[in-house]
Amino acid sequence: MNMKYLTKFFLALSGFGCAFGHSPAYAQNNDQFVIVVHQSSNLAQSDSSMMASIKQMYLKEKTKWSNGMDAVPFDRPNGSPVKVAFLQTVLGMSETQLAEHWISVKQKNGTSPPRVIPSSSLLLKFLERYPGSFAMMSREEAEKAADAVKIIFSFS
């Protein structure tokens, strides 16, 4: 076989591998954003499957945590830095693709998107009220509220 074509073939193959590969982006201390649960929650710290679980629970494909507790996601406003990073890193979707997802599940079974909470102080109250709830926030916000929330996963 012609060497040039052979090289092209392997380049294409490696590109295919890269496209299908994915790099985990969890539990980095220098990450700017975090997923938090209430401090009283007995949910485990981050592990390798946490990012996938958070994605499934946020999209309401999965409705329970691994310990059987109901998963209650809360959302942040579109366009906020934490939401932009969450879309890109955790969901791997654009805003349009996410909107398509919610329209699709709304038509299929009436599932609605998570409630949007703009204020972080109010978010803390919601996290306290609903066991099993989780939300995204900046690391700075989470560290300020260290008595109230527990970081289970971080991303940037």
Binding site: S48, A52, Q56, K62, G68, T96, Q107, K108, S119
Partner: protein, 422 residues
């Protein structure tokens, strides 16, 4: 010698003041008797200067402290103002939405959600012997969901449809639209019990859980309003019934590493919109689907058994493949039926690649093949080229050109449609 400080009562650094007094006293005690008057004046002048410097420094410290306290107060006030603004905004939103009218409440249940969509369709058919155009469909569907308890939910879709069906059969060379008909079907209406993610039970009228597009079903998400041929006519059962009234058990199991999901759906039900014979026959089936979520690939396998009024019992197998990653969305389905009682077997296949050009534009193509087995040689092929434009996510505008190829005649269709959902 005695130094008297005007800040004595509230000096922020008392140790400094005390130290200064002691040093001055000590100097005056040790050196006092031996100093001349000039030296003494010099020392007094130095002391005066030092006192002025200290006073100036203490003044600055006081100013800094005052500023710091003010800054802390300002920060608290700013936070409180932000929260009050947020609360005011919420109260305003509630007032604006509800006013002085009572909000809608559900009789029994935790929540009630309403939604729906409106679709309008314009079609031009260019046949071999004639051309005709019509606003051939306006469809309004109302969606209702109520969470009755944490585990039990209700979901219904009620349709109000003005439709003029295309007629390609009565004279293949002169396709036309049939008269408009108002249809008001209960498209979906079921109660779902969720034991957990692995086990759910649904009873009522539901979408037959086969394939990709039949499950997606609703126009707000469809690239092509004309679903693939094997799903036409609406509520029909060209290959399998689009909807059933019955019960199904379904659920999902997620892989340990969170990278995959196995879903199943096992059902039995009656095709109640069909003729009497079909209404008295049960259709049963199973779908297994595996979603390799990080790769964007979903593979589904389907099996069904049922009965048709015009062809007796049948068995059905099918496979579907969905690729949805980045800008590419590619759907492919193939179904094959094995008809009993001597009828011809049926076969359907389509592949529909699409490309998200940007957030607003999507281009797609579909090759669609159907052998409906009813008539000998009744094979229809369609090539569909289309674009979707989404000015906002809840509005979908479509433009399509459809090349329809049958044994009897070729037809060209142009279609424009819009769907607005809420």
């Amino acid at each position: 010698m005695h130094l008297k400080f005007s800040w004595a009562s509230n000096c922020p650094i008392p140790n400094l003041k005390r130290t200064l007094v002691l040093i001055c006293g000590l100097v005056s005690f040790i050196m006092g008797p031996s100093l001349r008057a000039d030296d003494l004046d010099e020392i007094r002048a130095e002391l005066k200067k030092s006192r002025e410097v200290i006073e100036s420094l203490l003044g600055r410290i006081e100013t800094l402290e005052a500023n710091s306290a003010a800054s802390s107060d300002a920060s608290m006030i700013s936070q409180a103002t932000e929260r009050i603004d947020y609360l005011e905004e919420n109260v305003f939103e509630i007032q604006d939405r509800i006013g002085n009218k009572p909000p809608v409440q559900v009789f029994d249940g935790q929540s009630l959600l309403l939604g729906g969509f409106l679709t309008t369709q314009f079609t031009t058919i260019v046949g071999e012997d004639n051309t005709t155009s019509s606003f051939n469909a306006t469809q309004f569907e109302l969606l209702i969901r109520s969470d009755i308890t944490k585990e039990i939910s209700f979901f219904a879709a009620q349709g109000f449809l003005w439709e003029a069906d295309e007629d390609f059969l009565s004279d293949p060379n002169k396709p036309h639209f049939k008269p408009h008909v108002l249809r008001t079907p209960l498209i979906l209406g079921s109660v779902n019990y969720r034991h957990n993610d692995h086990l759910q039970i649904e009873a009522g009228r539901f979408i037959t859980p086969h394939g990709i597009i039949n499950i997606e079903h609703f126009p707000p998400t469809l690239l092509d309003l004309r679903q693939p041929q094997f799903l036409r006519p609406f509520s029909g059962q060209t290959i399998f019934p689009n909807f059933l009234t019955g019960a199904r058990v379904h659920g999902s199991r997620f892989s340990e590493n969170g990278d995959g999901r196995l879903s199943y759906s096992l059902y039995t039900g009656a095709h109640v919109t069909g003729p009497v014979k079909e209404a008295n026959a049960l259709h049963s089936g199973l779908r297994l689907e595996y979603d390799f979520s990080s790769h964007g690939i979903t593979i589904g396998t389907n099996y069904a058994h049922g009965s048709r009024s015009n062809a007796g019992d049948y068995d059905l197998v099918g496979v579907d493949l969905l690729y949805n990653k980045g800008p590419v969305l590619w759907k492919t389905e193939v179904f094959s039926s094995f008809e009993k009682a001597g009828a011809d077997d049926r076969f359907a296949f389509y592949t529909q690649p699409s490309y998200r050009i940007n957030d607003k534009w999507i281009g797609f193509y579909r090759f669609d093949y159907l052998d409906n087995g009813v008539l000998p040689g009744s094979i229809t092929k369609e090539h569909v080229f289309g674009v979707n434009f989404l000015p906002i996510s809840i509005v979908r505008l479509r433009g399509e050109a459809i090349f329809r190829d049958t044994k009897e005649a070729d037809t060209l269709l142009f279609q424009l449609s819009s769907t607005v959902s809420f």
